[in-house]
Subunit: 276 residues, 2 copies
Amino acid sequence: MNSAQLFDQIRKKKSFLCVGLDTDPAKIPPHLHDEADPVFSFNKAIIEATAAYAVAYKPNIAFYEAMGSKGWTALEKTIHFLKSKYPEVFTIADAKRGDIGNTSAAYARAFLQQLDFDAITVAPYMGEDSVKPFLGFADKWVILLALTSNSGSKDFQYLDAGSSGKKLYESVILTSSKWASHDQLMYVVGATHPDELAGIRRMIPDHFLLIPGIGAQGGDLARVAAAGMSAQCGILVNSSRGILYASSGTDFALRAAEEALELQSQMAQLLRAAKL
Amino acid sequence: MNSAQLFDQIRKKKSFLCVGLDTDPAKIPPHLHDEADPVFSFNKAIIEATAAYAVAYKPNIAFYEAMGSKGWTALEKTIHFLKSKYPEVFTIADAKRGDIGNTSAAYARAFLQQLDFDAITVAPYMGEDSVKPFLGFADKWVILLALTSNSGSKDFQYLDAGSSGKKLYESVILTSSKWASHDQLMYVVGATHPDELAGIRRMIPDHFLLIPGIGAQGGDLARVAAAGMSAQCGILVNSSRGILYASSGTDFALRAAEEALELQSQMAQLLRAAKL
């Protein structure tokens, strides 16, 4: 998927919502534990309930790996279900990988080829040759960590880096934005840093940003949109726990739909206000 | 396993060799493709052939994920085989994970609990709360990326960081070494940076270092030992491709054993010279 197709979907659905599939077997409704594959059954119900309101889905790979090979199978079924039933949605493997070249190439095969995700989140610490292998696939994306939503973002990402007066996260963006066009590269910027988000948008007016951290982590949607929107929307705002675990009863999918609709309604207003 | 037990094993085997299990189905000997699980059969033969010469094994998780759920099953069988037949060896999940707290906690469960590895490699970019969840397990280790062996290490790791005159990789070591003792925390330092390795050893005299990059990547064992050894050895030197793919014939395990023995012999000399 390219950025024009993504923007097109945003306009059609009047939404820039990404639903994070951080599916934790300990948190899914008890009645699902009778199913053959409770995690896949949960994901399928969540996707069906929210697909009208979301433009992207982002399985958080950690939660599947914590279940071993059964988890990997649930992940395979989830991405297959997404690709076959909702081919228009943008799919993100939230994996935060990054290693020496031949190893990154293996991760790229795993997520962009074998599982056929549209995008993968990548950590920048190991530099260009750790990121480049993920960029070798047509219409597939790297979403590079820039300024993350967590408190630990203060440990290294805000350090003055080099002699340019830039912070490390700014240096990561400036350097990496030369590695690929804004049709293959997005950045992760946490909703918990709205002021820095505005500065990042000035640095890179055309790149899409994947923005986690609203809801459980405390970020605010209207502030994020004001600071981060580009001329082509340019933001995907993620919500995970607020949607997935809105109810632990048999009404979980209905309640997830209501939460997603609430976010989509706010997003429709923000898009309208921005004349998009 | 604690550092005293690891050092004890190093003295017994007169080796500080870590065998990297970067098992690529496209590179294993053709005759193994008739086996039910060629990757596990390959790993088992490599481990049996080299266990006398190695103190640690390090499956590179990317190569297993590139095979999907079958790969994850091969990984489970490999770690189970290691733990049951060679309980004295140190096992490292080369995973380079790191995410917000609840996600890192899921990765920690996956690798340190479910798969029961002794250690996992972790990327530092997201800071303290992304690393801490991996530190909550007795006698289990975090091996944090400091200065990696690849060319991309120059992109960010060498940037002047903060106002202290330190490089980013030095800042990562200084900051993170306050998060845990040297009985729970090691660092990855590439063999391709022997001068910096000596500086790192002065900064942290007691921490173990995991050192990739000899062989295919060009690092030199004697230089690494001269620069990196501590009073309790303090280094694990990894070799992957040089051992695994020494032969693509039916003699692959024998040739792997010869390569591992050659490295172990050099290591025995280096340990003797250091009176360890």
